[in-house]
Amino acid sequence: MKISSLKDLDAVKESVLKKLVPLDTPSIRVGLATCGISVGGNLVYEEFKKQIKEKNLNISLSKTGCIGFCKEEPLVNITIPKRGILILHKIEPEDVNGILETIINNKENFDKVLCRINTWDHIINGIIDYGNGFKDIPLWNELNFFKGQKKIVLRNAGIINPEDIEEYIAVGGYKSLYKSLKEMSPQEIINEIKDSGLRGRGGAGFPTSLKWERAYTEKNSKKYVICNADEGDPGAYMNRNEMESDPHSIIEGMIIGGYTIGASEGVIYIRAEYPLAVERLQKAIEEAKFYSLLGGNILGSDFNFDISIVKGAGAFVCGEETALIASIEGKSGRPKPRPPYPAQKGLWNKPTNINNVETWTNIPVIISKTGKWFSNIGTINNTGTKVFSLVGKVNNVGLVEVELGTPIEKIIYDIGQGAADNKDVKAIQVGGPSGGCIPSNLFNTSVDYNSLTKLGAIMGSGGMVVMDQDTCMVDVSHFFLDFTMDESCGKCVPCRKGLKTMFEILEKIISGNGEEQDLIILEELANTVKKTSLCGLGQTAPNPILTTLKYFKDEYQSHISQKICPAKICKNFIEYTIDTNKCTGCTVCAKQCPVHVIDGSKNKPHFINQQQCIKCGTCLAVCRFNAVSKIPKNKV
């Protein structure tokens, strides 16, 4: 079916709106992004499918993406005509029968109810009314987790079916593409983006309009646009969810970008670790082609644009734009010095515009709602929202979208509800291996590009890992250096050798041989690597070290002078012991010990042979009598 006019788009919209807002048939949607699937969401889906078929029920079943509250998964949305959507949480296949019975009997007493949705702002098409029942259930935005969030990027995630282009159209999808192609010139689009103040969501925060303008003004018959979906920061998965839950918003953004700069080809470079995102994007591309929204003569115009997908192969440095381009060209992903910028000489030496996944998803919103509307969200110079993956030792783990300028404390304590297991939050790590650790006494800082950089961290792509008192900051630095050292492409000396040397100093400290002067050398070296490396990887890799040295120097010092790891993480500073008063001699630890170094006969207290213990922690994990404990080692 070809869509070539606004009338066609509206016709699809009207006819499929009833899929989202059913008039008489109840509908069930199971949250099936990678996170939902791995906690059993697919089993729940299959069980619904089986029972609906067996019982021959008039209930529709479909998939949806992830609404972001990962802690509560698997999530199931139940839409009852005129009453609205109920979100059920932690659903298992055993719950399916009860849910179906409740629906069939037209009752409302569902178990495991998390919240209700009566209306939802899909932004582009505005608010959709799903019904006004279930008044006894809390509204979704009355929950701590959602209160204070603002969903623009995740406007459709967890509500619509990501594998159905019609549902995307029903919530206003591809309307912005129509407006761009039929009513706006490239320069007008660039001006609109300029008004919005949108900055690159990949982490560096470069103004998107400037990038576009540079590529637009280049004279060349062949140009490219690229979507950087190589979300390499460990601890960050916003982009994965954006691709899995609302793939068309990215594709629509890219087509608008292609039209604006004059490109006929787009490439999505996505990491191989995200097979489901690849599958959904591939499907979305095919569907968009079927409707003439992608390919030749888009929307009946003379604009042609195609998108292909290239899978990465596990190299963190390929998130850097010049390395990413090299990788697409079939080379090792090693960065090149800039200028020339990709906007001048990018893929195959042609003008190329690269943006991050989240940047692309914002484009249709800006076109539809105007740049001025967008610029009113967030703060001056830091407009719009940002999605963070709030993970680690926090109560409410999940994807959190907030206006830029929101204080860190609001994200950690209000939305995240503080540290898990009644512990205290010690710090957060933002920006992945390029970012830094921020101590809890600075949590009044607002989350925006400038404030975070001032603290020595960076905004980064949106990873926010919460750490409590059981996290050792020296170990965290060691972890990140191990990562960046391993991922350094080896091209420039400061990064290749500098990171290695810094890593060796940290190894020395955590093995108990650290000296006071090591910290001075570490800091000096970190600053040198930062100033002299070729690309973003090396320039930012010292950030975790520099910020922990700045805010947690006492932890380094206790490793060096007292030979103590305060968090009891570093293996050379701890040992496991068995309390002979508590040990019942049940033999479980001796049986489970992978190196067989626990001695003792049945019903008699057991002992750990310290010389051979590998400190894996198995005994502590398996003991049912609290007899095993982790204590500081006396001598190193």
Partner: protein, 163 residues
């Protein structure tokens, strides 16, 4: 790998953008690793020097140059997994499978295969399942909220026998 299968894969990727990576990825997907013969054949047929192909195969961590075990276990070493004890999980797996880190191969890749070739163990950077940290992937399946206690039980599903 048979040459007609390689030909079919090569034919699939005509667009120069992403061509080499995509071919190598699909060959590895089918074969489990990239054999010397396959690399030479690909190089000749797509007219890319073998040195460049070899450079790619060794640069990207996804590629294996040696045969792998039947089941591939990847321990996520992302930040969220790390702070929730991924190192202990990896350490335990090494002992349970009786493979040790000092066996890292000459091509610099971390891939440890058990003697009976039933398991290969490696580490991954992040599966984007940070909300379920720590995470382990076995073949295509992701296991969240891993603990030392649950490891043996899961391994048994894949034919692991306790020594």
């Amino acid at each position: 790998m048979e040459t007609n299968l390689l030909d079919n894969i090569i034919l699939k990727y005509q667009n120069p953008s992403g061509k080499v990576l995509s071919i190598l990825e699909e060959v590895q997907e089918k074969q489990g690793y990239l054999s010397r013969e396959s690399l030479i054949y690909i190089s000749k047929n797509i007219k890319v020097p073998l040195t460049q192909i070899y450079s790619i195969a060794t640069f990207y961590s996804f590629f294996n140059l040696k045969p792998v075990g039947t089941n591939i276990i990847s321990v996520c070493m992302g930040t969220a997994c790390h702070v929730k004890g991924a190192a202990e999980i990896l350490n335990n797996l090494e002992y349970l499978l009786d493979v040790k880190e000092d066996e890292i191969t000459s091509d610099g890749k971390f891939l440890l295969t058990t003697q009976d070739k039933n398991f290969s163990l490696n580490v991954a950077r992040c599966f984007g399942c940070c909300s379920m940290a720590p995470v382990v992937r076995i073949n295509e399946k992701i296991y969240g909220h891993m603990t030392i206690n649950t490891l043996p039980k899961i391994l048994k599903e894949y034919g692991w026998i306790k020594k």
